[in-house]
């Protein structure tokens, strides 16, 4: 079972849409797929896949819901729709882990984790456990600086990065069909060697269906064969300090 985290430093960039689209694409290719909604305080997966009640097994495990051959769990299926989750961060951390570990998944090939924006309690708990991450961003300077922090966190935890999905890159002019850039910025993370997996337009069809039907899952699978593991910065300054301390001695 490979764990894929769909992450971003920024909210509202389309992590849930990408998570659901990736899970759906993998399931359509015959893989056994699970999907965990890790955004405990702002869960959206039930809005995409259906707000079904979760079952509980005889041995106190959650029984995931199913939609299009995707098994999924979300706190949104336990907490009532519209009820705020006013929990202590340590409880959120614990619940995030339980949501994954106390679910009867059965045999799975991939589990996709829809992360919350930024470094919420759920992210701190679950990010180090990921086998891969897929980064979602929008091409705005505001998003860029937040996503850079996520890239650095992946460097810190040495998590293999599949690539970047740039969302809301352009929209089509309703009259002539010409692409119009939504944000007047254009930046992937190629300087880190991280490939751009997809450039998704701002499309009313995606907004209404809540999934990207033609999400490039094959490109994701291909990139997973050669993921990017960012190297930690070399410790030259530290070596110099130790040398100096020896000289002083």
């Amino acid at each position: 079972m490979k764990k894929i985290g769909v992450v971003s430093g920024k909210g509202g960039v389309g992590k849930t849409t990408v998570s659901a689209s990736l899970a759906l694409g993998l399931a359509r290719r015959g893989y056994r797929v699970g999907l965990v909604d890790l955004d405990l305080t702002g869960s959206n997966i039930p809005d995409v896949l259906g707000r079904r009640e979760l079952g509980v097994s005889d041995n106190d495990m959650l029984i995931p819901s199913e939609h299009d051959n995707i098994k999924y769990v979300s706190l949104g299926q336990i907490i009532g729709d519209g009820d705020p989750v006013l929990w202590d961060p340590k409880d959120v951390r614990s619940a995030a882990r339980q949501l994954f570990e106390r679910t009867l998944w059965g045999e799975l090939d991939y589990v996709v984790f829809d992360f919350p924006p930024g470094f919420e309690a759920e992210t701190l708990e679950m990010l180090p456990l990921m086998d891969y991450v897929l980064i979602v961003t929008v091409p705005s300077a505001l998003s860029r600086s937040k996503v850079e922090r996520m890239v650095e966190a992946c460097r810190e935890y040495q998590i293999p990065i599949i690539g970047v999905v740039e969302n809301m890159v352009y929209m089509r002019c309703p009259s002539c069909g010409a692409p119009i850039k939504v944000f007047n910025e254009d930046h992937g993370f190629e300087e880190h060697g991280i490939p751009t997996i997809a450039r998704i337009p701002l499309d009313p069809t995606i907004a209404s269906r809540k999934v990207i039907e033609d999400f490039p899952v094959d490109k994701v699978l291909e990139a997973m064969k050669r993921p990017i593991i960012l190297q930690r910065k070399p410790g030259v300054k530290r070596k110099l300090l130790e040398l100096l301390l020896r000289v002083i001695a």
Binding site: G235, R238, L240, L241, L244, L245, I248, A249
Partner: protein, 134 residues
């Protein structure tokens, strides 16, 4: 026998205090409760430091910290060398906070220690330049 961590701290504080008379105006004694830093060596031995203004000294039993930043000597040397910033180390969980009465980090104390480490790093660089000159 003096422990590894104590030897390192002794050397660093001796460098700091070399410059003490001429930089005295920078020192402003802290009042009230402060955060301390505990540096744990590879042999398990540790030293407890306090920061008066930007001057780092050994803490005494009378110091009543709001909490203690507990870090390994490895993390300490990374911060002091500039490989890692104290705030960055905090964000990455490279040290733990002992005895936090409020359950959270005192961010003013964190900032104060970050500046104290930066300042000590500057003094070490200054000292190394003096060594070069002979």
């Amino acid at each position: 026998m003096t422990s590894y961590v104590k030897r390192i701290i002794d050397r660093l504080l001796s460098i700091q205090d070399r410059f003490y008379p001429e930089t005295k105006e920078y020192y402003k004694m802290g009042t009230g409760k402060v955060a301390l830093v505990r540096i744990v060596g590879i042999d398990g031995d540790s030293v407890l430091l306090k920061c008066d203004g930007y001057r780092i000294t050994y803490a005494s039993d009378e110091d009543q910290p709001v909490h203690v930043f507990r870090m390994t000597v490895d993390t300490f040397l990374n911060i002091l060398s500039g490989e890692e910033d104290l705030r960055e180390a905090m964000a990455k969980g490279h040290f733990i906070i002992e005895n936090a009465s409020t359950g959270t980090v005192d961010i003013v104390e964190l900032e104060k220690w970050a500046k104290a480490f930066e300042r000590l790093r500057g003094l070490i660089l200054r000292y190394s330049k003096l060594l070069k000159k002979g």
